[in-house]
Amino acid sequence: MKYFGLYNYWVFTLLLMIGLYAVIAKANLVKKLLGLSIFQSAVFLLYISMAKVDGGTAPIIQHADEPQVFSNPLPHVLILTAIVVGISTIALGLAIVVRIREEYGTIEENEIQARDRDR
């Protein structure tokens, strides 16, 4: 169990790095948004991992009289919010990319910059 615990944090770190790399290094705007999505998902994993309690179950209290162990509900609530924030950002970003494609004829960052210089 201990090993699994550390593994969660490693995966969080790796996903964070992969996402950030795609956002910074990729020129394609859709790729950047995908990277942003991975980057945010990594943070979701961090929060949900910290909420886990050994031997716990989902925080739904069915029989209040029996003593039961529950995982921490608060990070779940926060991440529900964060997931929705994530898709809102992505939707807005995609709308902007579509308009960029229409105005510039490309979704590659370097070509857009080149076109801006020509104006």
């Binding site: 950047k32 945010q40 961090l46 910290m50 924030v85 970003g93 510039y104 857009i112 104006r119």
Partner: protein, 495 residues
């Protein structure tokens, strides 16, 4: 009884008005509604500011759940000052900028635009009113998304890549902040800021907290556009609709700085040993470099709005410099500069919006001779510019004066910092002079030759804002009192 509900009214008013504005297509209707809602929030913010001067902090439990279990609103002098800036800038920009907005925003987009505007105001007010770390994140996203929309709402295609860059960097900044508060929550088990201050004492020397300090500071510095991370700012300011520039230049980066100061001074410094030195050591060089480099770029920049955008980056440097001095007078200078700069820069961008109703291009060559055709608009621009430079008798002088005093108190580096402030003020004189030289040039450009002065009601709004810079230069009582109470409140944790 009724006044106790003021915090809820100010945070819930603009967001509740936004859906109403989005429902009804009809250009003048949605404008009037947004302006009215904005003015109402300004009035409430004023009442709240008066109430906030009497106590240290007004606490309001949303849903009547006691903090830290529910979400707490916490209005201090600092947040009240920021609220005045936000709602005031929004009201002045909306009321004065109607003509400019009508020409910039396509009719099919207007009701959405004004809804987004109200959401931006609501989000920014929500950030400064909140006393809960995660709640700040949520409202940060409301205001950021709404700001992206406002920037992209005009017809200029160059705004699109600019806003995409802003969206990506803003989201990275917000996510860094989210990682930071996640780590703090991991170690303290709470999200309420006041509760965090007390509980963080038990875990100060643990590594996740240090990492959290890094993430929170970096994320907010990114969103605030502090010097090396400012790359999203110039184009976002330059290509957005002109009135939007006036609004966001006045308040959006300052709100991120507010959160930065709130976190670093109240949560981290009270409990982490040596944090104040690290904070100063990290931010002071950035501030100094930012002031000098951005002013230098502004001196060579040929586009009027981009020039002022670089000037804004330099002014953010002043605010950060004041904060990094770690003294009451330094913080007071930084915070009062938020107010004074918002006033001056908002006025200048509004004046540019007026010029843009007469001209299509805003390079320095294009505005040649405009000062002779629109003397009142350019006159207001110059009054605000004097405040930006910091001439005595203007509001800008007050903040620079306090900054110099605080720098002199801070020992050996003080003299150097004073030199930086003086040099950068001279640089500001230079780039403002370039505008004056172009505007009053004797050979007017083709468009400028036919330009007419804008109508009297618009000038009245503009001059109100411009004269406010003079008024608060001569009577700096209210902003200074709020700033000083904010500074002592922030630093109170250190002693």
């Amino acid at each position: 009884m009724w006044t106790a509900q003021l915090p809820a009214l100010v945070i819930a008013g603009p967001p509740a008005a936004a859906p109403v504005a989005a429902r009804r297509p009809g250009a003048s209707w949605s404008w009037a509604f947004a302006a009215l809602a904005s003015a109402a929030s300004f009035a409430i913010a004023m009442l709240l500011a008066l109430a906030a001067t009497e106590v240290t902090a007004i606490s309001y439990a949303v849903g009547s759940w006691p903090p830290p279990f529910g979400i707490e609103l916490r209005i201090t002098g600092f947040s009240a000052l920021l609220m005045l800036i936000i709602t005031g800038a929004s009201t002045i920009a909306l009321v004065g900028g109607k003509a400019s907005l009508d020409s910039d925003i396509a009719p099919a987009r207007r009701h959405y635009f004004y809804a987004a505007w109200l959401l931006a105001v609501g989000g920014l007010v929500g950030i400064v009113a909140s006393g809960d770390a995660f709640n700040i994140f949520v409202f940060m996203e409301v205001s950021s998304l709404a700001t992206y929309i406002l920037i992209a709402a005009g017809g200029n295609p160059r705004a699109l890549p600019a806003v995409f860059k802003y969206l990506v960097m803003g989201t990275i900044g917000a996510t860094f902040y989210l990682i930071g508060i996640g780590l703090i929550y991991l170690m303290t088990g709470t999200l309420n800021l006041v509760d965090m201050e007390t509980r963080i004492h038990d875990v100060t020397d643990l590594k996740p907290i240090y990492a959290a300090v890094g993430f929170v500071t970096l994320g907010l510095v990114l969103k605030a556009g502090v010097f090396p991370l400012h790359v999203w700012l110039p184009n976002a300011y330059a290509w957005s609709p002109h009135v939007v520039t006036a609004f966001i230049a006045a308040c959006s980066t300052k709100v991120s700085l507010y959160v930065l100061l709130r976190f670093d001074f109240m949560v981290f410094q009270g409990s982490l040993g040596g944090h104040d030195l690290q904070f100063a050591g990290f931010l002071m060089p950035l501030a100094v470099l930012g002031i000098l480099v951005a002013s230098a770029v502004a001196m060579t920049e040929g586009h009027l709005k981009r020039m002022l955008a670089y000037s804004s980056i330099a002014q953010i440097g002043y605010i950060v410099l004041g904060a990094s001095l770690m003294s009451v007078s330094g913080l007071t200078a930084g915070i009062v500069h938020m107010f004074n700069h918002a006033l001056a820069k908002g006025t200048m961008f509004l004046a540019i919006a007026f010029i843009a109703t007469r001209l299509t291009a805003l390079r320095l060559d294009d505005i040649a001779g405009i000062g002779r055709r629109m003397p009142w608009t350019l006159g207001a621009f110059l009054v605000a510019a004097m405040s930006l430079i910091g001439l005595p008798g203007t509001a800008g002088f007050i903040s620079k004066w306090y900054l110099v005093l605080a720098a002199l108190q801070s020992g050996a580096v003080g003299a150097l910092l004073v030199a930086v402030v003086l040099v950068s003020s001279l640089m500001a004189v230079y780039y403002i002079w370039r505008v004056v030289e172009a505007a009053w040039s004797s050979t007017p450009g083709a468009e400028a030759a036919g330009a007419r002065e804008v109508p009297l009601p618009m000038l009245a709004v503009l001059w109100t804002a411009a004269l406010a810079s003079i008024w608060f230069g001569l009577q700096p009582g209210l902003p200074l009192a709020l700033s000083r109470s904010a500074a002592t409140y922030l630093l109170g944790q250190l002693q």
